[in-house]
């Protein structure tokens, strides 16, 4: 997030796109509701009539995967109506003229034919955002889990840059991170392209520094592989994987592909708190300490670095993840793993990461710092990009609309979109084992419009067969107008409804994020025989 959570009640206009915040980030959504109580306007773009849509001044139920078209048309209207921030564009950005020329043809009428929402509503949304003194954008995986995820984000950046809605209180571009420490995993360098602190592996200075500190003279410059690459190459180039706390076979797209990949390894080691579906494929499973048993650090969606504290002893012989990894490293003869506490590990990270340079274990005791904190006298950075962008000027990107990797046709006539639910978390290794929660939501359903059910001649609550080009599952239907006609929804949380056997139609070419939000499917009543002719 460019702006802190505390800013959420400060915008005049909020544009929430691809974020089901009331279910996925409920506490953050309370800030947004406060803004509405103070009179802020809310624009919501989401294929599903989520709870946020009920609060919206403009609700845009766009077709799944049509975000770029909507955002181009909003930029068109903002430019046409002279709502651009000329001073901001002149002093803080580059590439505006080319972008402006590009916008000409992308009228709300053009977008309306792709997004399947009225042109007048697109116009109104653009006017609200363009006229706001303080406009803030919030988004989640509805923006990124597409083959055009990067295009979607850059389209949002274009709106931000042309209106100057960045670097000030109550503005900004704010992705809501979905897991408690997914921000931290990136901060710590557990990504292929960056050393800790987002220091690129393409920079020879960084490579030199880490080669020296880690005593590894062979350190590669530039070469990397993502997890998607690794899973594609299992059994060939990739022979061993160490997985920490991820139920890969349930949460990743195309489950059959994923299971096959892990089974073809010579060696799989899984560290987790439960014996997950992924752990069941491993050669070695190592028990980790969990919430309430672990001292450590995590970073939230607003880059706030906070302390975790152990309250109770570990279950059985469970050990902290860092200790387990250090033990394996020591047995491999890798130097630098003589850690005796979480504090030592964290302080080493701070010493190597410029954005954490001003932090250490003791300084983050109260959690008041948001990175970057470049030195010990620095107060932290709640709002990013106040005076300048990281690389100088903000760059307008010329982007065109592309269809999703797979589109609906006669064989697969429904759009399936997937997501999360308030009462379940990911693959339910945790919430499925919490009594009250399991009572609130104990089974998965497929949300479908009543008209579609009538057309299929299926009654509410019956089970249907749902097939994509990759697989087939059975699922109970739930009639609801939350789903628009022609689009169905389910979560990936329940192992017994393995929706990720169907997903995996395509990946963003830059980030390799899977298009989990779009998957054409066919629905057949269980009473009819299955047809598998289209599976490949």
């Amino acid at each position: 997030m460019s702006n802190p959570l505390a800013d959420m009640d400060k915008p005049e206009v909020i544009f929430a796109i691809g974020t089901n915040m009331t279910e996925c980030h409920p506490v953050a959504a309370t800030g947004l509701k406060k803004a509405l109580a103070k009179g802020a306007k809310l624009i919501v773009a989401d294929p599903r009539r989520i709870r946020l849509a009920e609060l919206a001044d403009v609700y845009l139920p766009i077709r799944v995967g049509s975000d770029v078209a909507l955002l181009l048309a909003m930029a068109h209207v903002i430019a046409r109506e002279g709502l651009v921030d000329k001073e901001f564009i002149a002093t803080r950005t580059t590439g505006f003229d080319a972008f402006l020329g590009h916008l000409n043809d992308f009228t709300p009428e053009w977008a309306s034919s792709i997004c399947e929402v009225p042109a007048a509503d697109i116009e109104q949304a653009a006017l609200f955002y363009g006229q706001a003194e303080r406009g803030a954008i919030y988004y989640t995986l509805g923006i990124t889990e597409h083959i055009c995820g990067v295009d979607n984000v850059q389209s949002l950046c274009n709106l931000v840059l042309m209106t100057g809605n960045i670097g000030r209180e109550g503005t900004g571009i704010n992705p809501m991170r979905g897991q408690n420490n997914i921000q931290g995993a990136g901060d710590c360098g557990a990504v292929p392209q960056n050393f800790p602190g987002f220091q690129p592996i393409t920079d020879p200075e960084n490579v030199k520094k880490f080669a020296q500190v880690y005593q590894q003279p062979l350190m590669d410059t530039g070469d990397y592989a993502t997890k998607v690459d690794a899973l594609n190459r299992c059994g060939n180039e990739i022979r061993a994987i160490l997985i920490d706390g991820e139920n890969t076979v349930v949460t990743d797209p195309d489950r059959n592909h994923c299971e096959h990949a892990l089974k073809s390894l010579d060696h799989l080691v899984v560290i987790d708190i439960f014996l997950t579906e992924t752990g069941q494929l491993a050669d070695v499973v190592l028990p980790a300490t969990g919430f309430g048993e672990t001292d450590g650090v995590q970073a939230n969606t607003e880059r706030r670095v906070q302390r975790l504290r152990a309250a109770v002893p570990p279950q059985g012989e469970a050990k902290p993840d860092w200790w387990i990894i250090a033990q394996i490293a020591q047995r491999m003869g890798t130097p630098g793993f003589e850690f005796t506490s979480a504090k030592e590990v964290f302080n080493e990270l701070c010493s190597l990461s410029p954005i954490y340079a001003g932090l250490d274990w003791d300084r983050i005791d109260k959690g008041e710092y948001q990175w970057p904190v470049p030195h010990k006298d620095h107060p932290g950075t709640p709002i990013l990009h106040e005076k300048e962008f990281k690389n100088g000027k903000g760059v307008f990107k010329v982007i065109g609309y592309r269809d999703p990797a797979e589109v609906i046709d006669d064989n697969f006539p429904f759009w399936l979109t997937t997501g999360r639910r308030l009462e379940a978390y990911h693959s339910r290794t945790q919430t499925g084992r919490s009594e009250g929660i399991d009572y609130l939501l104990s089974e998965e359903t497929l949300e479908i419009h009543p008209d579609d059910l009538a057309r299929l001649e299926v009654a509410d609550g019956e089970t249907v067969r749902m097939a994509s080009r990759r697989g087939e599952i059975e699922i109970k239907v739930e009639a609801t107008t939350r789903s628009p006609r022609g689009t169905v929804f389910t979560s990936f949380s329940f192992a017994e409804v393995a929706v990720n056997e169907l997903t995996g139609s395509g990946y963003d070419p830059v980030t390799q994020t899977a298009e989990l939000k779009v998957c054409p499917v066919r629905l057949t009543p269980l009473t009819l025989p299955a047809t598998t002719a289209d599976r490949n």
Partner: protein
């Protein structure tokens, strides 16, 4: 609250909720070795006293009987069997050594967790980069 009915002192420990990325501060309420409740922290910098249904109530998993309590290794019978830490860690390291010897430094991959603390993610990337000199490391954010 269930905890009020049983004897013993309630201990409060300040930590952060384990679910979404908002990072709500909570107090774990524990009696002896049991977690008996979760309270939102009124002075939590991210949540200022607010907490959702998962954060408030979904903590039973921590002390659930399904928790892994001992390391497991796959035996000749194809099944996973409980063992001691030394045996399991040796087995884990021996497998990685063998792959390194037979297939070289590009053959091993590390996947860090978006759920575990910084120290886990940092150690995982250091393990890959320091052991192999490669960038064959990722986390679950692409899924």
């Amino acid at each position: 609250m269930r905890a009020a009915k049983s004897p013993g002192e309630v201990k409060k420990t300040r930590t952060i909720c384990p679910y979404c990325g908002v990072g709500c501060s909570v107090d774990i309420l524990s009696k002896e070795d049991r977690i008996v409740g979760i309270h939102p922290a009124m002075d939590g910098p991210a949540n200022k006293g607010a907490l959702c249904v998962k954060g408030q109530f979904a903590y039973d998993f921590v002390q659930h009987t399904d928790r892994l309590k001992k390391p497991l290794v796959r035996g000749d019978d194809g099944q996973l069997h409980e063992t001691d830490w030394d045996t399991a860690l040796d087995r884990a390291a021996d497998g990685f050594k063998k792959v390194l010897e037979e297939h070289g430094r590009y053959a091993t991959y590390g996947i860090a967790s978006g759920r575990a603390p910084h120290e886990a993610a940092y150690s995982m990337q250091k393990f890959i980069r320091a052991t192999y000199g490669t960038h064959r490391i990722d986390n679950c954010s692409r899924a």
